[in-house]
Amino acid sequence: MQLFPCPFCGLRDEREFLFLAEAGKVRPDTTQNISDEDWARYLHAIRNDKGAVREVWMHLTCGEVFVLERDSVTMEVVRAIPLRKEVA
């Protein structure tokens, strides 16, 4: 099995991880009037890039949600970026 990096736990079995979504989508400002097209684009349009991708993943066993950079062809994992803010 492939090992995926969790920012909290380190390298773990890939089956412990869950793909959630592509990273970088911004929810439209719902206090304003949004067109059906814009809302559909937010809900459904996907870049689905071949090659380098940035995605939001969860490590199911510890609950950590983070950004994973990887290659969607070679399946090589580049790095995991935590979304937690460090407590000062």
């Binding site: 059906d36 689905n48 071949k50 062809v73």
Partner: protein, 416 residues
């Protein structure tokens, strides 16, 4: 062009099979066509065939980056069925089964469609109620379906584990008698040969690298062999549809995943039908050569890597061992993956892409092979007439804006 027939086979048998002509011609890419199809898999070749046959449009090129049927058309588990829940899906997939029923004759190419039936098992009393609902829905939609109890399932498929103390004991199931399997390569080759005979140019080893647009309209494609202009362009690129969309400057509601399949060493006949056991996430049939053709669910990770991997292999094969313990020690011959195009509602997208002059046929996800004739038929209709066929209208891309999804993922009890 030589017609294939029993007489012809007999004659060639006596002559040492030296008189068979090439099944389709080899063409150089011309600078312009009326229609260019991106992707020479089943759907692309079928689109070209039906454009020529139904609409008289023969100045068509099918452009394939690899070899014909080398993508998902050659990587699936060859199951053909129409056991769907919603009327829109039933119309679509049953039209495909009906086209498949006449396809060998239509194409003059034996696609070996074997209507051996498909059983989807139910493993609890609530699942039996859902199975009855499925049977009723299918019959209301005009699709053949039979509701089986545990004894009938056991008689139909004796290799299944029907013990009461298994993890998910079999209570019964749904049988679609007209479902079955076909020869996937023959479907690609048959459509290619028939389209070629009607005048279509098939260009292999030619990759589309860009979409030509003028004033917002798609007017052709850029390929590894130069530019080609076209009246209209159709994209039938399955798992790579998002890549084509990106070239044209839009995004599709599609995520690409690897879907794996397995084939075992040849065995004597052990299976009669195609069997799917949903709780194990595994389905299996036996090919004419005797190999078990085994499939399961999608991989867990979005991917363009056309190869198998271990986590899903373990899940699918352990499911098979639970379904049919007698087959647990069967050895695998091959193991592979294709890249499938999954939509949010597990239904396909057929019709205009939003870019003028560019049409798409994609989003079939895990079920593209069974839909090859209908996908080609409907895309040809939309491209030739500029308007939807009644069967393809619900599957227009605009459903993601209107919200009128055909949500088969939740309703049909399919494995994915």
């Amino acid at each position: 062009m030589t017609r294939y027939s029993g007489w012809r086979l007999f004659r060639e048998g006596l002559r040492g099979h030296k008189g068979w002509p090439q099944a389709w011609r080899t063409h150089k890419l011309k600078p312009a066509y009326d229609v260019v199809i991106i992707g020479g898999g089943g759907h692309g070749l079928a689109t070209a065939y039906y454009l020529a046959k139904n609409h008289g449009i023969t100045n068509v090129a099918v452009i394939e980056k690899g070899w014909l049927g080398g993508g998902n058309t050659g990587r699936n588990t060859t199951v053909i069925r129409s056991n769907y829940f919603y009327p829109e899906s039933a119309d679509l997939y049953d039209m495909s089964v009906r086209l498949y029923e006449g396809l060998s004759k239509d194409l003059n190419y034996n696609i070996m469609f074997s209507q051996r039936g498909m059983i989807v098992t139910a493993h609890s009393e609530p699942e039996m109620e859902m199975a009855a609902r499925q049977v009723n829905a299918m019959r209301l939609n005009g699709v053949d379906a039979e509701f089986l109890d545990a004894d009938q399932v056991k008689r139909a498929e004796p290799a299944l584990n029907t013990r009461h103390d298994m993890r998910y004991p079999i209570h019964g199931g749904v049988l679609q008698p007209r479902a079955g399997t076909g020869r996937h390569d023959a479907v690609a080759w048959g459509f290619a040969r028939a389209a070629d005979r009607l005048g279509v140019d098939i260009i292999q080893n030619c990759e589309v690298t860009g979409i030509l647009t003028e004033a917002g309209r798609c007017v052709g494609v850029v390929t590894s062999q130069g530019e080609v202009r076209a009246g209209v362009v159709g994209a039938t690129a399955a798992g790579h549809s998002s890549t084509i969309a990106k070239m044209a400057g839009f995004e599709l509601p599609i995520e690409s995943y690897a879907l794996q399949a397995f084939v075992s060493e040849p065995l004597k006949p052990v299976l009669n039908t195609v069997v799917l056991c949903p709780p194990f996430g595994t389905y299996v049939s036996q090919s004419d050569k005797g190999g078990l053709v085994i499939g399961g669910g999608l991989d867990r990770v979005p991917s363009y890597g056309q190869r198998g991997n271990l986590p899903m292999q373990e899940a699918v094969l352990s499911g098979l061992a639970e379904m049919m313990p007698a087959l647990a020690k069967v050895k695998l011959l091959r193991h592979w993956a294709g890249i499938v195009d999954v939509t949010p509602d597990s239904s396909p997208i057929i019709g205009p892409s939003g870019v003028d002059g560019l049409y798409v046929n994609c989003g079939w996800g895990t079920g593209g092979f069974k839909a090859i004739p209908v996908g080609g038929y409907l895309l040809a209709h939309v491209m030739a007439t500029g308007g939807h066929h009644d069967v393809s209208r619900p599957f227009d891309l605009s459903r993601f804006i209107t919200g009128r999804l055909v949500d088969e993922s939740a309703a049909s009890g399919i494995a994915h």
